[in-house]
């Protein structure tokens, strides 16, 4: 009996792609972190922070949540708005009823509650597939919308339908200014993204992709399909719930069930389809597209034509143009902006290669 030396075993290890030196990667990360955590708050004005960067980051996070479910585990859902509202109302009630908990813990717990609700809704996916599942997630969406409107307990019996959010603070530092809210959102998004990247490269992520590619085949080779699907619903709704809480507290400043309606679900789905399904970076690209495009259309249209047509017509025109652009984009780049980015990168690599 011969013993195999470890050097021989190493030869059988899968060939690794040539990686850039570790130190350079870390320097890149450090520079990027310095720019977004220190540079942006110093340079950007309140309008950019409040109206563009914060909603962009939160929608990216919601996109990330849905992408884990749809792009990685292959379970399409239109309940995103509903899960966001669960996160928002759960965090609100935790802040209100358990004020001794620090804000990050309340945010995380709010996310966990949303995750549990998502998992309950995900039970349907064990039996129902495809478009039937999409249509039945609408049941969750409409039920949650109705629930938060109907029962005053969730909004602490506030007389108006929108309630103002409690003061945001971590360890005594006030975060209610634009910079504070930006940093809170950015930190949450950074942490969740890091966890999500680890997750999709783990055993769990591979299970999800096997289920997405063909769940019947996955179950035949012994992959735990049911628990994989439920896990995907839990993690996805957790992330979406945190995004909903941030949307209410860091962006709007109020908890309002109407801001989590079906249109929000469609918006997040557009983000991941335009950005790229099954891609982490795609969520950011898609969210940037969805946040910037309406602002751009607004400037382009109301600039030269401002005052010439009335506001209602302008809105219709914008809507038609937006729909047209979406169709055009789906035709031109059906794999999303992430595919475009990777093609650009390959092109650059070819150009710079000796």
């Amino acid at each position: 009996m011969t013993l195999i030396s470890s050097a021989e075993v190493a030869d059988f290890a899968p060939a690794r792609a040539p990686v850039r030196p570790r130190s350079r990667v870390w320097i890149g990360f450090a520079v990027a972190a310095l720019v977004v955590f220190v540079g942006v708050p110093l340079l950007a004005n309140d309008y950019w922070l409040n109206a563009i960067l914060v909603p962009f980051l939160i929608l990216s996070l919601a996109g990330l949540g849905l992408n884990l479910l749809m792009g990685y585990a292959g379970q399409a859902s239109l309940g995103t708005g509903g899960f966001m509202s669960v996160g928002a109302y759960a965090t609100y009630n935790l802040l209100l009823r358990l004020p001794q908990l620090p804000l990050p813990v309340s945010l995380l717990l709010g996310g966990v509650i949303a995750g549990l609700v998502g998992m309950a809704a995900g039970l349907l996916s064990l039996r129902i597939k495809g478009f039937y599942l999409v249509a039945s997630t609408l049941a969750t969406q409409f039920f949650l919308e109705w629930l938060f409107n109907q029962f005053g307990w969730f909004s602490n019996y506030s007389t108006s339908s929108s309630i103002s959010a409690p003061r945001l603070a971590i360890l005594g530092h006030d975060l209610s200014g634009p910079v504070g809210r930006y940093l809170l959102t950015l930190s949450a998004v950074t942490i969740v993204t890091a966890v999500a990247i680890r997750l999709v490269h783990s055993q769990t992520g591979r299970t999800w992709m096997a289920i997405r590619d063909m769940d019947t085949a996955a179950s035949v080779i012994g992959i735990p399909v049911a628990s994989g699907k439920l896990k995907a619903f839990f993690v996805s709704s957790l992330v979406i719930g945190i995004a909903g809480a941030l949307w209410a507290f860091a962006y709007l400043g109020t908890v309002d069930a109407r801001s989590f309606n079906l249109d929000r679900s469609f918006e997040v789905m557009f983000i991941i389809i335009l950005g790229g399904m099954g891609s982490i970076v795609g969520n950011y690209l898609g969210a940037a597209f969805m946040v910037l495009l309406p602002i751009l259309l607004d400037h382009v249209i109301s600039g030269p034509l401002g005052g010439a047509i009335d506001a209602g017509q302008l809105e219709n025109f914008q809507k038609a143009l937006f729909g047209g652009l979406i169709i055009w984009f789906l035709i031109k780049e059906p794999n999303g902006l992430a595919a475009l980015l990777s093609r650009c990168r390959q092109w650059l690599a070819r150009r710079t290669a000796p």
Binding site: K129, V134, F143, V220, G312, L330
Partner: protein, 293 residues
């Protein structure tokens, strides 16, 4: 007891109106596998066009004919501009494209014809008819009869005509159908045209009942549970699903709404649909997918 029967009958007849919208979905899904979210905006577009023509004192049948021509033109444009470049893409991409399409149709038809609420009078007298002790809305009866005629006509169209048989071939196996020389693209145009005709009928009936306004697009959300219950591929299913949803909805609003504080109808139909799905995952009349590995 009379009250119960009246609610039930009213609900059943209202359900037929949902079926009308659901049939448009079924046609498109059967022939092209597209989950067409723009069906609601097609209903709005047809109703708006018709009512605008009628307000210009154009004869009823001429107005209907012009509207139909516009709906067919839209169908051809949709096939050329949207469906043809997106062929072989994942279904969810096509679904998103129809969502974009609904924005375009809604935006353009409101630019062209305004966003105000129009009255639409089809000349149907809406006085209740008495059957014994039970009152039934005459308008609802006419609507139900129209839907019935439409379903019979469509069934004959699908089972007897050459076009209908080709459509069934495509639904069965697109590759095989293409290889024996069936023109897929022409047939898609025809199907979307027929869906346009169905949305014209739905638009007229819904418009006469609710007024022609933007809220007409929301009937699509009422038609979805109908579709889930009946199955995406069955016209019979759309009718049966409509009856179940209509009856369930109005009974729930009366008997369950009181217990829970009202307005349960936004989600009740969906909850009902989910219960049906848990028992039959492809709807009552849908074809269960056979998976091969």
């Amino acid at each position: 007891m009379n009250f119960f029967v009246e609610t039930l009958v009213g609900g059943l007849l209202a359900g037929v109106m949902y079926s009308l919208v659901a049939i448009g979905f079924v046609l498109v899904f059967k022939a092209s596998g597209v989950f067409n979210f723009a069906q609601g905006s097609m209903v709005l577009c047809a109703a708006l066009t018709f009512v605008t023509l009628r307000e210009k004192n154009i004869d009823f049948w001429l107005a209907a004919l012009i509207t139909l021509a516009i709906m067919v033109a839209i169908a051809i444009a949709v096939e050329r501009v949207v469906l043809r470049p997106l062929v072989n893409q994942p279904q969810i991409t096509l679904f998103m494209a129809t969502l974009g399409l609904s924005f375009v149709i809604e935006g353009l038809s409101q630019i062209a014809m305004g966003a105000s609420v129009h009255e639409l009078d089809l000349g149907i007298v809406d006085t209740p008819i008495k059957f014994g002790d039970i009152q039934v809305s005459q308008f609802d009866l006419v609507a139900a009869a129209t839907a019935g005629v439409l379903v019979v006509a469509l069934s004959i169209f699908f089972s007897k005509t050459r076009v209908g048989i080709s459509l069934r071939a495509i639904a069965d196996d697109p590759q095989a159908a293409l290889s024996i020389g069936i023109r897929l693209q022409t047939l898609w145009q025809i199907v979307w045209g027929v869906a346009g005709f169905v949305s014209l009928v739905a638009g007229l009936l819904w418009g006469a009942r609710q007024g022609v306004q933007f809220a007409l697009t929301l009937v699509v959300l009422k038609a979805l549970p109908v579709l889930i219950i009946g199955g995406f591929t069955s016209i019979t299913g759309a009718i049966v699903g409509g009856l179940i949803v209509g009856a369930g909805d109005s009974l729930a609003e009366i008997y369950l709404g009181g217990l829970l504080g009202g307005s349960v109808s936004t989600w009740f139909a969906y909850a009902l649909a989910v219960i049906f799905l848990l028992i039959r995952p492809a709807g009552l009349f849908g074809e269960a997918a056979i998976e091969r590995i």
